[in-house]
Symmetry: C2
Subunit: 159 residues, 2 copies
Amino acid sequence: MKAEMPQVKKENLITFVREMARVNLLLKAFMRQKFKEHNIDLTSEMMQVMMTLWRKDGINQQEIANITVKDKASLTYLIDNLARRELVQRTEDENDRRNKLITLTAKGWELKEMAAPWIDEMFELVGKDIASEIVTKGITLLETMATNLENQHANLAED
Amino acid sequence: MKAEMPQVKKENLITFVREMARVNLLLKAFMRQKFKEHNIDLTSEMMQVMMTLWRKDGINQQEIANITVKDKASLTYLIDNLARRELVQRTEDENDRRNKLITLTAKGWELKEMAAPWIDEMFELVGKDIASEIVTKGITLLETMATNLENQHANLAED
DNA sequence: AAATATTAGTTAAGTATTTAACTATTTTTT
DNA sequence: AAAAAATAGTTAAATACTTAACTAATATTT
């Protein structure tokens, strides 16, 4: 049986999706602004990869793709760019030669020292006057939405 | 005075931003899948513009850009594509000749008849088992984040 | 009224993403 | 062990987005 959904909920979901896009755009704009101020030649996408590596160095491209929610083809491109800037390097995984492990160079770690303060600043700004619990509930909401979308085939099958 | 933010909150915000990206990606994937099934030659970005026009026809490109949270340069590109497919047309606004009013063609309205059911389906799916109130709170959260980011200069000034 | 500022749209160059086909390697199945 | 399937990464072409500089039109200031 098809679930009845009041129209107001669809409107809400449209608004929700739009506001997600807005927050995402503003976060990118914040980063671009900081890059400009500090004369850093990076894009927000490349910075996402760097942030991932600062938290967990020496992982392969597919894992970075999973964490950053990007396609592996995009990662090839982004890692090429970061390697050209000598911020990361590719090394073949001896245990599984399909993998290329991405590790930070000294220059890549130096960038962290410089960028970490204003990344913290960005998250402090975005989370200003928001209770931790609210964010947690927001994560739960997003995860439910993601699961709903991921399970679409299963849901269709049980009709 | 600088607000203290516990590390756990920053971690939560990072997770929140990642989950936003994931939901966004899954929504696009859903649409792409439907386009393929129905042999529709459109991208999810073009569809966003069409959805905007079905709700409000005859607005200018800047207004569409505001609603879809895109750059006006992107709109030039997307409207070019939709016009080429004869789904929309540009007409000069007589009252203000800077504006180009975008109106749907008959073909553009026909597409709505076809696409509306599975767009509804998409929003029903994404909102499955989620109380309307939760989405409303999610919108409030996103709006607070957006405002925080938009007001960054004002906030810096009052330090 | 003239000068200045703002707004809407376009263009071009550079960057990012997606898809699909491809290679190489490893894992699973037969 | 051989065949088949799965996984990681690359490549190329097409699409999408961003930035900055630009034109044209309108609004505001002087």
